[in-house]
Amino acid sequence: MSNDIWIYGEHSNGRLAENTRDILSKASSMGRTSLILLGREADRVVDEACEAGASEIIVDADPRYDEYLAEPHARTLYRLIDQGTPPRILLFTFDPPSRDIASRLASKLGTGALSNVLDVSEEDGLTVAAVQWGWSYTAKCRLKGKNPHILLIRQGAFSDHSLKMANANNVGGITRYISMFELDETYPRVIRSTVERKPGPTLTNARLVIAGGRGMGSADNFRLIEELVAMLDGAIGTTRAAVDAGWRPYTEQIGQTGASIRPDVYIACGISGAVHHMKGVRGSKSIIAINKDPDAPIMRMADVGIVGDAVELLRLLRERLQERLGR
């Protein structure tokens, strides 16, 4: 039986997604890895992928991968699996583009798939730990069914992995394909892509998120948070209340009807901690809350609660950071 692990490589702007790098380093400690890179910019990522420790790299740089959403990716993966021995495990990130591809592929293969995976281990068969119902509980599951086991890994699940070593010597080879799929041209097609946000990590993959709520007082005061996340390479978030007030765009909303975040540090500024907001931040490793009201619900759920005016504190923090970073 094959013990190979395949990884679908998520990448953008010529960089491998951080979660893909983490997955690659974890998978390298479990078996032989093949990284699959698809899309117009796939070739630009190859060197980084070698350094990150892939045993084998499969590349197809057909630009149509970027134009036709999930389907061509799923067709190519299906073909790669169908034409040889299926790998034991096929790993994806849990980001939306990977979800779309993994779910279509899982139904083509008839294998099913599992989301929200936090850990993978071999003990009495393949066993995974997965968040199954929001962040309320995690479940340990034994996987049944046939190869490949398709698993979608939560952002940050493997970021503490000790095997962060780069081992370029391991690369067994790079296989290049040209247009592995056929596609009917009536398939849904992207006619224009618009970038709305500034460069930097996204809300769901940032290691630091600073969010502001109604306690920020005004839309203007959010500039402080914008400056701080730019200095610290973090992402800005907000609450439904601030979106409803027209202070921030919906794309920054965290919570039940917005993004679920899982940063190393989450700083909540002037946020009371409504249930629907807290559901989106449960995966944060460290929560710091700043609020005038010591009885705000968020103060009980935080690791550190600072009682005071968020805007005043952020101004002080900006000053101290400018000193430290020499700007």
Binding site: S12, L69, A70, A74, P96, R99, D100, I101, S103, R104, A106, S107, K108, G112, A113, L114, S115, N116, A130, Q132, W133, S136, Y137, K140, C141, R142, L143, L152, P188, V190, I191, S193, V195, E196, R197, T202, R207, L208, D233, Q256, T257, G258, D264, V265, V275, H276, I288, P294, M299, M301, D303, V304, G305, V307, G308, E312, L313, L316, R320, L321
Partner: protein, 258 residues
């Protein structure tokens, strides 16, 4: 335009934290207020608006769940949907994403449709896999995270969210769309809508009636243990702002962010 909207009954996410039964290893649904998944209300709103803008349209709700799942369907009919189908069967308790997708695909493949609309992910399980699996099983394209939608000359004009902005996409039908949770503000059912819903029929089907048997419906994973959330240590409360700033700097440094 024949639109199918997938609807799920969930424990009210604004009121409760989910509980898991340590013996059955399943989510406890008894004694918990159940509602239509808020994301599905948004999706239905999008479907109703498209139907209102397109002559000869019909919106059909499809759900899988216990008998009590007729309640959110009744609510959806009161909002303006035309018909509803519920697949309810004891064999489906604890169904995973792929089983759910197969059940939905079996029902939907028997009805004529141009468009299938779902939420991007459910608020309880949040696997985010059912829509893509359903589309894959039915052999139709799917477009996720849709925030704007129009129909022109049998072609769908779509705006969808991406990690750093949005994309404009054109698609023919049939297709499956997942609607972004902030795309629309769902309407409240009117009194007239509630009265009319009483005359609309909710068809309830068992798995054998949709051509499946319990052998077809095995989950790919077997839950062997539920791990309770860690009890959070008492928060450290700081009442001096300068001390707070220093504490933040220390944490950022410890976490390698500074």
């Amino acid at each position: 335009m024949r639109i199918v909207v997938c609807v799920k009954q969930v424990p009210d996410p604004s009121k409760v934290d989910l509980k898991v039964d340590k013996h059955t290893l399943r989510v406890v649904r008894e004694g918990v207020p159940n509602v239509m998944d808020p994301g599905d209300e948004v999706t239905l709103e999008g479907a109703l608006r498209l139907a209102e803008a397109t002559p000869d349209s019909q919106v059909t709700l499809v759900s899988m769940g216990p008998q009590s799942a007729v309640e959110p369907l009744r609510m959806g009919l009161a909002m303006g949907a035309d018909a509803a189908v519920l697949v309810s069967d004891e064999a489906l308790e604890g169904a995973d994403a792929f089983v759910t997708a197969r059940v939905l695909a079996s029902v939907i493949s028997t009805m004529p449709y141009d468009l299938i609309m779902t939420s991007t992910e459910s608020s309880d399980a949040s696997s985010g896999l059912v829509p893509g699996m359903l589309a894959g099983l039915l052999g139709v394209p799917h477009i996720s995270l849709v925030r704007k939608l129009s129909m022109d000359n049998n072609s769908l004009g779509i705006e969808r969210l991406t990690a750093d902005g949005y994309q404009e996409v054109v698609s023919s039908t049939p297709a499956l769309l997942t609607i972004s949770s902030g795309a629309y503000t769902p309407r409240y059912p009117t009194l007239r809508g509630i009265m009319q819903a009483k005359n609309k029929q909710i068809k309830i089907l068992s798995i054998s009636e949709i051509g499946l048997s319990s052998d077809d419906l095995e989950n790919i994973e077997e839950v062997i243990e539920i791990v309770e959330p860690q009890v959070k240590a008492e928060p450290q409360i700081i009442t001096d702002i300068n001390e707070g700033v220093e504490r933040i700097l220390t944490i950022l440094t410890q976490r390698g962010l500074l």
